[in-house]
Structures are given as structure tokens and as C-alpha cells.
């Protein structure tokens, strides 16, 4: 739930990047962190294993400065994708205002994408929120890979609710900011 703190004139929103292991969630945050001007970002905090897999979450605070007198902050999080860590994903998802679902476009990852999306639906519903009305933006990542699934096929399995959807190559930044802009605006529209 977003917080509008009228006393200190601040607005806070929480956005979570969700998706199967290795789909590129951390890469999204790393790219955003590398491009956003210094005064608008905090440190990128990563709680990871020695092999750089996300263990708990990545966290990137963005500060949009004053808009109509209110300081506005977006907090971006990623969840660990490994199947085993569902409880941790539930913890990170707590209180989220919007979700970017990052799907892996590799042909042999579709099953994992579908499973992860079903799990997301379950976990949003458990927070007593309506999944069909929850702010979600889809990102089809790794479009640079030769065996990437055609977009219509991914749409068929992952986008029955017709969310906004962006093709991306998170490692080089393609589509990363389009995705971030879309989810930010969606969250703001629901404040």
C-alpha cells in the first residue's frame, strides 16, 4: 500500500520485480542503477549468495524529487527466483503497490515462466488483493537469444489479462526503462 505522508509531504511506492530464477530481474535493477542520475538514486543493496544468485532481495531506492510539493520515492525490489524460495518471495511481496513480471523468452523456460506467474497470482490473492485488478506490467526478457519464443506464443500463455508488455534485453538496457516507466505510471494512477 502506497503511503502519502502529508505531515512531511512524502509519497512512497513499492514495486517488485518477480519472475523465475535467472530471468533477468537483478539485471533490470543493475541497469537502472547505472543510468539514473546520482541525485535520484540510493545504493543498490543486494543480499546474494557467493555465486551472485539473489538470496533474499535486491533493493534500489529511487527519489524523484518534489512533484507538486511532495517528495516522491519509488522503492524497487527483486525476489529470489529459485523455486525453493517461495516463502522469501512472499516476504518481499508484502505491501507491494505494483509488480513487473519478468519472463524468460528462452524456449525451454516457458514452463518456468508459467509456474512463476501462477505462484504470483496465488501470493497476491493471499494478500487479499484482486489479482485481475493488481497493477502488473509484463517484460519479455532475453529477446536477443536466438531461440527466443515468438511474442504471440508468449502472449498466449502469459498475457491473458492483456497487461502492458515490453520486449527487453536487460543486460544491455533494451526495454528496461520502458518497463519501469509503465509500472511507475500504473502505480501512480492507482494511488
Amino acid at each position: 500500500m502506497a503511503i502519502i505522508n502529508v505531515g512531511v509531504r512524502e509519497i512512497h511506492c513499492k514495486i517488485v520485480y518477480y519472475g523465475p530464477g535467472m530471468c533477468g530481474k537483478t539485471s533490470n535493477l543493475q541497469y537502472i542503477h547505472s543510468q539514473v542520475p546520482r541525485e535520484a538514486k540510493g545504493d543498490l543493496l543486494s543480499i546474494a549468495t557467493e555465486t551472485e544468485r539473489t538470496l533474499f532481495f535486491d533493493f534500489l531506492p529511487l527519489d524523484l524529487g518534489k512533484v507538486r510539493g511532495f517528495s516522491t520515492r519509488f522503492h524497487l525490489y527483486t525476489v529470489p527466483g529459485q523455486v525453493l524460495y517461495e516463502r522469501t518471495r512472499v516476504a518481499v511481496l508484502n505491501g507491494a503497490d505494483g509488480v513487473v513480471f519478468v519472463a524468460d523468452s528462452q524456449r525451454d523456460k516457458l514452463q518456468e515462466d508459467i509456474k512463476s506467474l501462477q505462484e504470483l497470482a496465488r501470493n497476491i490473492t493471499r494478500q487479499n488483493k484482486k489479482f485481475s485488478e493488481f497493477p502488473i506490467v509484463l517484460q519479455y526478457n532475453k529477446r536477443d537469444i536466438p531461440n527466443a519464443l515468438p511474442v504471440p506464443v508468449m502472449d498466449k500463455y502469459l498475457n491473458p489479462l492483456h497487461w502492458q508488455r515490453y520486449d527487453a534485453v536487460a543486460t544491455t538496457g533494451v526495454g528496461v526503462f520502458d518497463t519501469l516507466k509503465a509500472i511507475s505510471k500504473l502505480v501512480i494512477s492507482k494511488l
Binding site: I3, V67, T72, R73, T88, A91, G95, N128, L191
Partner: protein
């Protein structure tokens, strides 16, 4: 619209109550720092020694560890962990949940007795719970608070800042 998606609007007079409550908790326990977080990890108010470097990251981590302790509770079929104590070499952290929505944290050192912290924190959580109840009930709309042009201004800022 789904009521779960609307924001929590905290009016100035309630922010003042919260500040007062945190200040009293720090004072009465002789603690170093008190922090009120939303369960999403966002800092609502803080009080105490001002040179805590990264309150934002602290908020994210405390909320994360509290949420994960609640998942542990579920696995253990424990109804809930309402409170959490983290003991350090220099400082301790005591964390308490307020109505499943807010998280109160107090940081204190060896000079303060944990029993005192527990009692006074419990008192503070009751006070903050009634603040939260009033905040949840208040009926100001977003447009009344932010102005009707807020959304377009916000979208312009997003376009300006979120690009490579």
C-alpha cells in the same frame, strides 16, 4: 476500485502524534533510535540520534527480516511472531508489529534493560495502533491531498528521469 489498492494517507496531526510517541519511547527507554515502518519497508517516521546513515536501506532490511520471520512462524505452525529481538555486540534491536500494517523498531544499547524496552514498546504499539485506526478511517481523497494535476506532473517527471 479495490480498497486494498488505495493509499494510506497520513495527515499532519497524526504524523505529529507518531513523532511524539517515538520521542517518548526513545526518552523513556534511554534508547538510541526509534523507527516506524510500513510493512512494505517504507519509513514513516524516525526519532533519535540523527547520524544513522541509511535509514531507507535499514527500513527495507528490517521489514524484510520481519516478514521472513512471519513466514518462519507459518512453517512452525506458530500463530505469529509479534515481536523480534536482534542482539548485537554494541546495540540491540527490538521489533514489534502493529496491526499487521506497521512495524515499530527501537535500537538500544547495553545500558538499557530489555524488560523495560518490552514494556514501553508494548505501550507505544497500543498508542500507534489507535493512530493507525484513525488513519485508516480518515476519508480524505487523494485529489484533496495531492491536487488533481498531480498525476500529470508525476508522469512528466517519470518521463524526464527514467531514461537512458
Amino acid at each position: 476500485m479495490d480498497p486494498q489498492l488505495t493509499s494510506l494517507i497520513v495527515p499532519p496531526e497524526e504524523v505529529a502524534h507518531i513523532d511524539e510517541c517515538l520521542a517518548r519511547l526513545v526518552d523513556d527507554t534511554g534508547g538510541n533510535y526509534a523507527l516506524l515502518l510500513d510493512k512494505s519497508g517504507q519509513v514513516i517516521a524516525s526519532n533519535g540520534d540523527g547520524n544513522r546513515q541509511d535509514t531507507t536501506a535499514l527500513g527495507a532490511l528490517i521489514a524484510g527480516s520481519f516478514a521472513s520471520s512471519q513466514q518462519i512462524a507459518k512453517l512452525l505452525r506458530e500463530k505469529d511472531f509479534r515481536m523480534l529481538l536482534q542482539q548485537g555486540v554494541r546495540e540491540n534491536l527490538f521489533i514489534a508489529l502493529i496491526e499487521d500494517q506497521w512495524i515499530l523498531t527501537i535500537i538500544f544499547n547495553k545500558g538499557t534493560h530489555i524488560g523495560l524496552v518490552k514494556v514501553l514498546t508494548k505501550k507505544a504499539t497500543e498508542e500507534l495502533a489507535s493512530v493507525l485506526e484513525r488513519v485508516r478511517k480518515q476519508r480524505q481523497t487523494r485529489d484533496e491531498v495531492l491536487g488533481s494535476n498531480f498525476r500529470t506532473s508525476m508522469e512528466d517527471t517519470i518521463d524526464l528521469l527514467f531514461r537512458d
